[in-house]
Symmetry: C2
Subunit: 454 residues, 2 copies
Amino acid sequence: MTRSLRPALCFAAVAVLSIPFGAGAAGPAPSDPEVAAMQRQALAGERTWQLVTSLVTEVGPRFAGTPGDAQSIAWAERALREAGFDRVWTEPVTVPRWIRGTATAEILAPHARRLEVVALGGSGSTPPGGIEAEVVEVFDVEALEALPEGALAGRIAFLSRPMEQRADWTGYGEAVPIRSRGPAVAARKGALATLIRSVAIGPDRFPHTGATRWEEGTSPAPTAALAVPDAELLHRQLAAGAPVRMRLVIENEHAGEAVSANVIGEFRGRERPGEVVLLVAHRDSWDIAPGAQDNGTGVATMIEAARLAATASRQGPRRTLRVLLTANEEFGLSGARAYAAAHAAETGSIVLATESDQGGGRAHGLLVNFAAEDAAASGELAALLAPLGVALRSGEAGGGADLSPLAPLGVPLVDLDLERARYFEVHHTINDTLERVVPADLRQATAAWATVAW
Amino acid sequence: MTRSLRPALCFAAVAVLSIPFGAGAAGPAPSDPEVAAMQRQALAGERTWQLVTSLVTEVGPRFAGTPGDAQSIAWAERALREAGFDRVWTEPVTVPRWIRGTATAEILAPHARRLEVVALGGSGSTPPGGIEAEVVEVFDVEALEALPEGALAGRIAFLSRPMEQRADWTGYGEAVPIRSRGPAVAARKGALATLIRSVAIGPDRFPHTGATRWEEGTSPAPTAALAVPDAELLHRQLAAGAPVRMRLVIENEHAGEAVSANVIGEFRGRERPGEVVLLVAHRDSWDIAPGAQDNGTGVATMIEAARLAATASRQGPRRTLRVLLTANEEFGLSGARAYAAAHAAETGSIVLATESDQGGGRAHGLLVNFAAEDAAASGELAALLAPLGVALRSGEAGGGADLSPLAPLGVPLVDLDLERARYFEVHHTINDTLERVVPADLRQATAAWATVAW
């Protein structure tokens, strides 16, 4: 029964840089001794990793309105209390309740094959017993729009545009319309159902879910994503020229609304309590995903970064540090919208807002949207981050999805750019597990966010 | 509808070495001009890739006794004929018929979670409705054997030994007893069912199937493999100390026997037709796997290597080249045993036998079991392979699994050692697709086997 021989598990290569002042740092320590000590602590710390491990082990998937969502509210309250936050509270949020059922796709001819498929969030259902129909391949939404009305009547549309791998978000941004808009456009052209190639990089056989939008007043059609290898297989069968027939069964339920919550923790500022640094991460995951990278790492990083910044000095934090762990980012930004609505009057007190929703990769870039008169502040922040290998980039910070309701209100934003190849391999799949997170990268990102919070 | 923008897909990095005489070669061309030309053709050729693509696209999974198995017999006959083999024939083989049904595993307490699980080949079934029981973790078969009789009565055994990643087969060999022997031993100790950690490297959430053995006269118990991250999760929950309860539903059918076939193609030797070079690869895959690496690459490589060797000279091959594509390697070596039994009288005519069943990685090592008086022959072969980066290794060739019935009969064996990290990531999973095969590596392996066949 004993476990005498288990080797230390570390799938992910841990790149150890030459270390002038602490593991994971890339240059000499910052001139401010408090920041240097705080970064050193972050780079040696295990707490972010322990938080992700706990969330993934004890809660797992936590899609809006599910039992896992409720458990993750309790988990987050406990985690914030245990981290020593002065105040911890929840604010109720109404979320849509979409319940995943069956999704199977099977090529019947010319060469029979079962495909790996996952319904997109918000997908409708096929009629009882499913549908059998011919598949028509269309490259992207532009090609779809160019089709005559009714061109897809009685058919299954297959949107096959691949996502390109790039260092920034543009590859995702260019590919994602086949998921977010494609199914509605295909339905308008008469399609019985839509299959998309997963919006993903990587050759692994995991279909990637995600939200799709339906026009007001329309009834959601059945729509699902194929794993990349399955999309390639379908493409090869179609390219051979013979008609490809498929059986598709997709059953989901739109079950009205449910109540979830934003979970909020605050360290009160010692010097300027009225100035709030807002650290945001979404607490929810997709229903199929343990959500280690998306967004357990973000939740854990923000909690630990705030704790480090709050305890860097004996006197406590200079400004108020508020960690906002939102409800339902994935399926409609419910928590972010609720927070922006409830706290509209206080946005003037936010001196800085930042969001973590890119997984647990290393931070390498800094973007801000500060007004010209605050150039000194961004220079100071960049100097403090430089030892971690984070460089100021041109361009303007936009915040992540959960900051999108606040950004238009003129809130000062800081974005940290993370390495995210690993993120897009597992994004919205069952493979988003702890084993895909690199502890050393997580420590470095924690150090970077603690510096931003400080 | 057009496909104007699809980028060339190549997930796998294609390492292009500096090329003295052809793409993929590692040194100067062999002194024999026929071999040099043949290797050059292999290193530039697309046929091996086309064969795997065709098998994976048109047939897919081809487990013993299934419709896919029958389709793959027809596919193999056609492929051998189209490659110009002089004779193509089949020999019937009786195979066991095991039919996979449901397999679900769900932790009920302390933290509910659905796990990714796949029944092992030969697994029995839980009673109708499944079982609910406490899970007991045991490291490996040795620890199992050390338990008192009845120690696992009423429990689910969880065998958690990880597989270590090594350059050779020893990591697999050391871990595989938890799959092949563990379930039977656990049943003997009273376990209701057995779960194992997949015998696999890599952090991805694919459970790996494979065969397990039951002692004569015992009734197969329900047994399944967990994906590596799920085994880690279960381990973490158990390590926390509270009892872990699980619901397990496993339903399979032992359906007697079916008829399959070995498919054989032959190029008749021009100089010494009575001397046979036997090139072996198994045609079957696991039922859940498209079987690109295991063993579509082997099938394709052997067909193309024989074709290249047979056509290297205008006069045809010196010796008879026989490609044997066996039935049911995965679930009992049925084809290999049937071939050895049917051809026992002719084993003396086999001057060389070799097998491909390690995926489509690059060949880097050569092993032989030739008698001392044939040292010159192995030296000659090593010299011809050296330009491809293949080096003679110490140790003795043992042949693959399908050569195990022939090896004891004193057949001269050649093993090519392939790079196989990629192989053990996808081995016996749904992820064993074309996208995990590197075309350049496949070309190099084809060149190496053509040289062996020549």
